[in-house]
């Protein structure tokens, strides 16, 4: 089930992603539909978010059920740095990633060295607690209302579009390089058999903590981007629903592939945004779909399409 990519598979991948990228670059010149552009921007953010979940959970096999927490940390850091310290978005962006990264190090050091169950428990507790604090500590976080009127990078939609696209391509490139490097191979090996890895001298705890920190760093980056783009953060950014959306995206596309989550993110974002009248039933269909996929087709879409490239 792991995704070891053959030489031919890499070519298919390269070709497909280049084709896709050109298509995306052409979109704002061809289409004059502002809503479509907005949806693609969101899809780009979600793509990075799901890919960053994938590197920790799909590759390493450590189930992070609190990914929304790091996304929210990034978003609130961006909001605070703008509202309290009047920092420019370009400074707030890495700050958001950094804060998420720091928290993930604290959690990783305590829980990743133990049995796998503990990590699941601690991450889900972490996100639920941040969610409660964001709602109840209303004097700082604005409570349910959230924080409004955060400065944007730019008010021009087309420029925003290219920023988001560049951000997505850059992040995916970095994540893909990491996954293809020595670190990535170590992750797959740890997922397969942790005890064997320990036996041949791989420092599994170190790799786990580092991967979790990388994954959370990207989640924080996306969070602050999201806050700067929309200009508003709400406690919803910490919610379990968001984590489940991310997981659905990853599993629809195919977990453990980096490119799969992007496809999943685009599909789910388009469905969610265009079927807005369906909003009441969104979460239930999402969790139902996730359940079916996990039980029946754990491979995901990308393994159906590129059978030769992904095992």
């Amino acid at each position: 089930m792991r995704s070891v990519i053959h030489k031919r598979g890499w070519k298919i991948n390269q070709f497909a992603s280049l084709f896709y990228l050109t298509l995306l670059i052409l979109v704002p010149f061809v289409v004059r539909d502002n809503f479509l552009i907005h949806v693609i921007i969101l899809a780009n953010f979600y793509a990075v978010l799901s890919a960053s979940w994938d590197i920790c959970s799909g590759y390493l096999g450590e189930v992070n059920l609190g990914h929304a927490a790091f996304f929210g940390l990034g978003a609130y850091t961006a909001a605070f740095s703008d509202q309290w310290f009047k920092l420019s978005p370009w400074l707030g962006l890495p700050l958001g990633g950094g804060v998420a990264c720091l928290f993930s190090l604290a959690i990783g050091f305590t829980s990743l060295t133990l049995k796998r169950d503990y990590f699941v428990i601690v991450t889900i507790a972490f996100s639920q607690i941040l969610w409660t604090i964001a709602i109840t500590w209303a004097s700082a976080t604005g409570g349910e209302e959230g924080i409004r009127h955060i400065a944007n990078f730019t008010s021009d939609l087309t420029f925003n579009y290219f920023l988001a696209l560049a951000f997505m391509v850059l992040c995916i490139f970095v994540l893909y390089t990491i996954v293809k490097s020595r670190l990535g191979r170590a992750l797959l090996a740890i997922h397969e058999d942790e005890y064997a890895c320990k036996a041949v001298g791989i420092n599994t705890s170190f790799y786990k903590v580092v991967t979790f920190a990388i994954s959370s760093f990207f989640a924080g980056l996306v969070g602050s981007c999201y806050a700067y783009y929309l200009g508003i953060v709400t406690p919803e950014t910490f919610s379990l629903g968001l984590t489940f959306t991310v997981m659905t995206m990853t599993f629809v596309g195919g977990s453990g592939t980096i490119f799969g989550p992007i496809i999943g993110a685009y599909i789910i974002t388009f469905l969610a945004q265009y079927l807005y009248f369906f909003k009441e039933y969104r979460l239930i269909t999402q969790t139902g779909a996730l359940l079916l996929i996990v039980v029946l087709f754990p491979g995901g879409l990308i393994r159906l399409v590129f059978k030769s490239a992904y095992r």
Partner: protein, 243 residues
């Protein structure tokens, strides 16, 4: 959550007696839990990632289903027994006393089953070494099934006992879940005595924080306890080695 809703509908719509409801709702939840184990967990058991994703998505799915069907309203149940009990100046709510005695009964039964009974021995065997257990002729699948069902049943019994004390709403399942995680981590996995001790400590700490600092920080304290315990003694106070 399911237990509470089952209790609510049986009590208010069918007007059954509380004792009957305790058993009936436990039965309902037992059936649901067993079918869930058969349909979902059995197929995903090989991969921890798939199991945890599947179980949590079921939790969220059920919550959403209940919310859509019956709405987000906060419901209450009238208490089973009215009045208070005065013990040398300390006033107890009778309802809480009943809940306390029933839970003590259930815990004693559970401990006896696990430590002394034939089936309890099988459970401990499966927990220690699955392959060896199945070699020795223990039906591992059946043990897993029953353990899962009983876990659901106990949750439902707790729900019936506590439902007059709390509000009933779709997302009510998360705080008890987090609390039980924290308690299990504090007391150590696989130790019933440790769990009881830990829940007392935990309850006192939670109420104290709520009293001195305000109830919104009680959650933060839960998390702080988890982190501190994991840092200084990851196996819990009475737990066995978990590395």
């Amino acid at each position: 959550m399911l237990g509470c809703f089952a209790t609510y509908f049986m009590l208010t719509k069918a007007n059954l007696s509380p004792i009957l409801v305790l058993f009936l709702s436990a039965l309902v939840v037992f059936t649901i839990a067993i079918s869930f184990e058969k349909l979902v967990i059995r197929r995903t058991k090989t991969d921890l990632m798939r199991v945890s994703v599947a179980t949590f998505s079921v939790a969220l799915f059920l919550e959403e289903a209940v919310r859509i069907k019956w709405g987000k309203i906060y419901r209450t149940i009238p208490s089973y027994i009215k009045g208070t009990f005065d013990f040398h100046g300390i006033v107890f709510d009778n309802q809480r006393l009943v809940a306390f005695f029933f839970s003590v009964l259930i815990i004693i039964g559970l401990v006896l089953c696990i430590k002394k009974g034939r089936f309890g021995r099988a459970i401990r065997m499966v927990q220690q070494d699955k392959e060896m257990a199945s070699l020795l002729g223990i039906n591992v699948e059946l043990v897993d099934l029953v353990v899962f069902g009983v876990a659901g049943m106990l949750a439902s019994a707790a729900a019936t006992l506590l439902s007059p004390l709390y509000m009933i709403y779709p997302s009510m399942g998360w705080p008890p879940l987090l609390k039980s995680f924290a308690i299990v981590i504090l007391g150590g996995m696989g130790s019933v005595g440790g769990t009881i001790f830990a829940s007392f400590i935990f309850g006192i700490v939670e109420i104290a924080t709520a009293f001195f600092f305000g109830s919104q920080w009680a959650y933060g304290v839960v998390f702080l306890i988890i982190i501190i315990i994991l840092l200084i003694r990851p196996k819990g106070i009475f737990g066995k080695d978990i590395f």
